[in-house]
Symmetry: C2
Subunit: 448 residues, 2 copies
């Protein structure tokens, strides 16, 4: 099915290249033409974009969708107690369900909630470090969301109830890769060693070698808290990013999430390696982690992408609020009202996100994947428009997204999800989420 | 017209008192009953609130609606250059239009945009420090928004083009009070001496005496930037809040906006006086002002309300994002993940806002003004609900508000504004805003 988007009031090829009254043609899942007064090929579905901004789909470069079942909870705690009090018991319940009872329903439903929330806000792809199971990928396919599954790898420091033998972790990662990794489809596989302190060195070097062998992206949390840095220095004599650098685990296919507590040498190592950093400002604020040095990273040439993190520390998957949070945190923490611009942060949420996910997307250029959001500019909170990039970044909200197109397919049209029965599935997901939360609260690990 | 809200899934009398499956009766603009299985009086309009949360309307305790015409602009600058580069030229154009050409249209339209944006997000009242003109009040009445007009008073430091003689300022303030101040209606008048450094001492003492004589609220910016404090110490030998305290300008009818750069003695003086502080986290972050000591103020017993500030430094009038910003800024700036709770910030946006505005509202108790928002909880980003206060504060968005009731009148029903032809008026407002912005850009004062 081909698609023709007509008469966009604004079309942003990227943050710097804005067209007025512009058309866009999609053929075979990719952008085939962008221009003024294009002809509509016969048999092409037409979407009118008068009064709208047509933009590259937003890319949520870091989340944990299972945390959708913990929305609003796990509140008022810093990272480690936050994990121990609420997340680990929930992970424990999920592991039991999945590995003992062989019940994958939960993964389907948490991913469904996340996928619906994201497509409703014009997010067309996410990097999800999850409790991996195939039902997650089925939910993405059903909703029509593009996703990169960073298969969680961790074998260290975790409570014994949550440890999975290395052999199983590795076998499953290779199995997911063989059966699901498909750069032409909606699902890609990446390797997700949780953090340097949750993996032993053997698992990290296996990750490095496997990623190279299979040409996979690597996604890893780095230096989210100050405590992590202290421990790393004590145990390894190196700061977290330096340690990864020594192991050969930085590189162009690597995205390092958070990087709140990094120093100049680490920034330089990240830049030299070609790695991407993923910034999660709302999560870093809510957990009181601190402010990542985003302007310094960008100045050093490190592409910085943007992620919402999971719903236990945000608690939205809303890239519009996340863009604003990035600007606001950068400015107040630097004491500099010019610390990060609207265009910078738009680039983070699109082009740099595409880089983190290894996607041929993130701008509206011919040949790119047709992952597109159409934003209705008619709301009173968006008028008047003086500078479209600033209006989008500072004023637009998820509910202003009217249509979402992923891989050339219209997955939301006029704010109606076209792919699944949203209301019915949200009810089912809600019931499963409540059930799991109750089980987690009743588990021996629960400490709230 | 009486109103009956039926079967609310959740009804929040306030952040601590949550009812399930609850009804609420409105009679004569006030809440007449709250309870379970109430009888519907004959001839009463019924609103079904199944699957919804019924909450006190949110109160935006600080804004400047004229800045709606500057959305997205005035970016990347700290307070003083921000005023000089963009705001002052716009104010100059508006002054000329209003005072020379005697054209009040602009005030109507910027207030209309703001009023529509606010009621769409469940905000039922704002404190607006504006370029005062009567068309503003007419817009509030047409849309059905409750508003407190803090009549701007300033006679110092401003560029000469913007100075208005004291005699005129004072006469206008008294005239607005005589003709528009109506605690039983939608419009109230307050006195708004801009800041201690934009008013000479005579104007401040006149404000104090006039507020007492007419029982008016006083609304004033205090210690937004570090520079202001330095100047105050140099010129007056006192910090800004200390100076106001010495003049007798702190008290229970006073709301002090920002208070970013205050010290313990000022917090104590504010607490002793009974004044309210209005916190504007997004604006303070965007202009890189810093973080107000909200937890310390609350601990000292100062009621802290919440405001969006004007659209040149936010650029939304969205109290949902503002609540989240307050939590996030408090936590990251204190390095304490428990620094401010969801319940704290909900109270800021409701009860404490009512106090700043001098309103008998802010909770859903019998006898209070019927200013109410009904939030649809069906969206995928809101499920599952484990703790309704946390779900509302961390996950709910303006577009989740389904119905808004102000002074007992349904001003938005099922997301349709009932009071005005929204689409037509937004178009008119947009054209006027564009015209003024163009005139401001062409003015001799423009420096962007």
């Amino acid at each position: 099915m081909n698609l023709f988007i007509q008469h966009a009031a604004y079309l942003l090829r990227d943050a710097d290249r804005v067209e007025r009254d512009c058309d866009l043609l999609v053929q075979n899942q990719r952008i085939a033409a962008v221009g003024h007064d294009l002809a509509v090929p016969p048999g092409t579905e037409v979407i009118d974009a008068q009064g709208c901004a047509v933009i590259p789909g937003l890319i949520n470069a870091h989340t944990h969708l299972y945390q959708n079942f913990l929305k609003g909870m796990a509140d008022g705690l810093p990272l480690v107690p936050w994990c121990e009090a609420t997340l680990f018991p929930m992970v424990g319940v999920i592991h039991h369900l999945y590995r003992v009872e062989q019940d994958e329903r939960a993964g389907y439903y948490w991913s469904l909630l996340g996928a619906l929330e994201m497509i409703r806000g014009g997010t067309t792809c996410c990097m999800d470090m999850d409790i991996s199971m195939e039902s997650i990928f089925r939910a993405w396919q059903d909703v029509g969301l593009r996703g990169v599954a960073a298969i969680t790898l961790s074998n260290h420091w975790l409570p014994p109830e949550l440890l999975i033998p290395d052999a199983i972790l590795k076998a499953e990662a290779l199995d997911y890769t063989a059966r699901w990794h498909n750069p032409d489809g909606l699902v890609r596989i990446a390797l997700g060693p949780s953090t340097p302190f949750l993996c032993d060195e053997a698992l990290l070097t296996w990750t490095r070698d496997t990623a190279r062998a299979y040409d996979l992206a690597v996604h890893i949390h780095v230096a989210e808290t100050a405590g992590e840095v202290t421990e790393s220095l004590e145990e390894k004599g190196l700061r977290p990013a330096q340690y990864l650098d020594r192991l050969g685990l930085l590189g162009p296919r690597v995205s390092a999430v958070h990087c709140v507590h990094i120093v100049e040498e680490e920034t330089a190592a990240l830049a030299a390696s070609g790695a991407t950093v993923v910034h999660c400002p709302k999560s870093n604020m809510k957990l009181a982690d601190g402010a990542a040095p985003v302007p310094a990273l960008m100045q050093a040439g490190v592409p910085v992408a943007l992620g919402t993190d999971g719903c236990a520390s945000n608690d939205l998957l809303d890239m519009w609020e996340e863009m604003r949070a990035a600007v606001l945190l950068a400015r107040v923490s630097a004491g500099d009202a010019a610390a990060l611009s609207a265009a910078d942060v738009f680039r983070m949420a699109t082009e740099h996100g595409a880089r983190a996910c290894g996607l041929d997307a993130g701008t509206l250029d011919v040949g790119r994947l047709a992952d597109i959001a159409i934003v209705d500019l008619s709301g009173p909170h968006l008028r008047p428009v003086h500078d479209i990039v600033k209006t989008l970044v500072y004023c637009a909200r998820a509910a202003d997204v009217r249509d979402t197109i992923i891989n050339g397919r219209v997955v939301m049209r006029e704010r109606e999800v076209t792919t699944v029965d949203e209301a019915a599935l949200v009810k089912e997901a809600d019931a499963v989420g409540q059930e799991l939360y109750t089980r987690a609260q009743q588990s021996a690990m629960w400490r709230v």
